[in-house]
Symmetry: C2
Subunit: 310 residues, 2 copies
């Protein structure tokens, strides 16, 4: 229970920011938590459920006097927010973000920040398909990775301080080059999401199979896709627009390999299919051994706790 | 606790058959359970853990005197098994199968069965990525669908009887035309599996991203894919070889739509991406409303019970 920042300003009060608020409170990491979100409704909710001690009508007002500012808005909104808050940041404060893409966020945010302000870009690898201020929970980051991608504007002290905050919320922290981050995430998250969206879209368009059949019989395989494809459209639009090069690179490889398997199916080449499917099993074993999931079919995702009063 | 069949012969003693054995015992549905699997190891295990009252070295011996024979082997093995057991089936008995593809199984099995034997093809929509005689558990089918695809050789009485067995094991039963079954499954299960296998394969082949990075950071999206792609290679090879037409049809539509989204990314068409992602959310809501999953990020899959002695 060590206070790491005296005043944390959360800009954006959705899934990630509200989970941070719960986690910081539970672990006594912040002296005060203030915030701003675009809509009056979200700001009212944040006060009502105690996410923030104070909310402000503008981001510029929210960041004043804060020693940590967390940009937790969709990636496409970072540029305007950074331009707005730049002149109002306290000397010596740290700005971080939680965006799912790093190079584009750095390009959008860094130019707006004055000297004497550290910028330490970050990305917690944790989420659910829910969004908004009521969707957060304190344990979202427990045992999950948070990747920091320090740049020139990140002082080693500011990076170490931010690392302590994430560790205090239960996360494991790693540092990585921003471009490498964007490639890794294109592989493990962005492209799989696009594929899941596409497959769910195909099912939706098929005339001969009704939506109710798709829904009823989606016990295997497809259900995971629908969960992935239920994620917030704004967030994912921004991810694909801003991590375009890496996603297009991985997508190209994906269709190439898919065509190889498609051809094996058409040709009836069972050996090739068998060999391919055998190799992919090993990756799964690695994930279980790395503790990211369990062998049991039902574990592996963070369950939100019962809501207070439920 | 009504005995529905006096003697059930399970041919193949893997995930599905062993789950049926546990479920039939727990619910008192079978007078006696006998079985056969290819390897002596599996047969020994089945006796040791009490899956079967008796095991036989051949399928032909196992089916003698049984009033229900369940073919629970990979789809590609059905033909040879049916040819072997055909002459040994008791008059009036029912043969069913649990194969993931229906038209190909019907073509492989039906010609080998003598008159006076009913053949009621079936497919429980339940599974995990595990296989073998130790992977089964009694609750696998609870609240899951089992699709029966009756044909000319299925008498209404035999179909009704088999339906009672599945309902006794906790499943919901529906009837469907075999060709329609294969198309629906190509959409909700087979094509998603192929896509997951492919994406995991792409990750494995990427030089610039190490496997350990893929494994460590697979918290979102990709982890579901690895789980799907860890399924049994033999079973899935057979599925793709035998449900070829429907899978190729759906794959063609999938790549078509994927190219549309890929182009939108390349062109920076955020509106098109946003609209697409918004539409796919609705399907997810439908699944939650249909009770196939819950809104909580952690529910929805059947958890195996603690193993006896654990
Ligand atoms: N969800 C995940 O799985 C996940 C995981 C890791 C990282 N991330 C990243 O975290 C960030 C936030 O995602 P989230 O899931 O927390 O989103 P979310 O639940 O949809 O919340 C977004 C928040 O940003 C606010 N906002 C949007 N535009 C704004 C603007 N122009 N000015 C001020 N506030 C604005 C919204 O305000 P209103 O409520 O008033 O609209 C809302 O409070 C994104 O960059 C995303 O890439 C998400
Ligand atoms: N797994 C799923 O998610 C799922 C869901 C629904 C339907 N199905 C269908 O259910 C069937 C069985 O799948 P499963 O998951 O239970 O597979 P599994 O766990 O791999 O077990 C397959 C069983 O079949 C036996 N076998 C294989 N070839 C044989 C042969 N020629 N003669 C006798 N026994 C043979 C194996 O014996 P050994 O152990 O001796 O090798 C093993 O006991 C497949 O048709 C599959 O399509 C599977």
């Amino acid at each position: 229970m060590t206070v790491i920042y005296q005043r944390v300003a959360l800009i954006g009060l959705g899934l990630i920011a509200s989970s941070m608020a719960h986690a910081m409170r539970e672990n006594g990491l912040a002296g005060e938590i203030v915030g701003h979100a675009k809509s009056p409704e979200t700001r009212a909710t944040a006060l009502e459920i105690g996410l923030c001690d104070r909310v402000f009508d503008t981001a510029a007002a929210a960041v004043q006097g804060a020693d940590l500012v967390v940009l937790a808005v969709p990636v496409g909104a970072m540029d305007a927010i950074a331009a707005e808050i730049g002149p109002h940041l306290a000397a010596g404060c740290t700005v971080t973000d939680v965006g799912s893409v790093k190079q584009a966020v750095i390009e959008a945010v860094a130019p707006h920040l004055p000297e004497g302000v550290a910028f330490v870009p970050g990305h917690p690898l944790a989420g659910t398909e829910h969004s908004g201020p009521r969707s957060g929970f304190a344990s979202l980051f427990v045992n999950r990775w948070c990747l920091l991608t320090p740049i020139e504007q990140s002082s080693p002290e500011a990076t170490a301080h931010l690392r302590a905050l994430w560790e205090g919320m239960g996360a494991k922290v790693d540092e990585m080059d921003p471009a490498h981050h964007d490639l890794v995430l294109a592989v493990v998250s962005h492209t799989p999401h696009l594929i899941a969206y596409t497959m769910v879209g195909v099912a939706d368009h098929l005339r001969r199979v009704s939506n109710s059949e798709v829904i009823q019989y989606s016990a295997s395989g497809f259900r995971d896709f629908t969960r992935i494809a239920a994620s917030d459209p704004t967030m994912w639009r921004d991810v694909f627009l801003t991590n375009k090069d890496a996603v297009l690179d991985i997508l190209g490889r994906f269709t190439e390999e898919l065509f190889v398997l498609q051809r094996a199916i058409r040709m009836g080449d069972g050996q090739q299919l068998f060999d391919y499917f055998t190799r992919t099993r090993a990756i799964r074993r690695g994930i279980i051994e790395a503790g990211q999931d369990t062998a049991a079919p039902d574990f592996g995702r963070v369950a939100p706790p019962a809501k207070p009063g439920e």
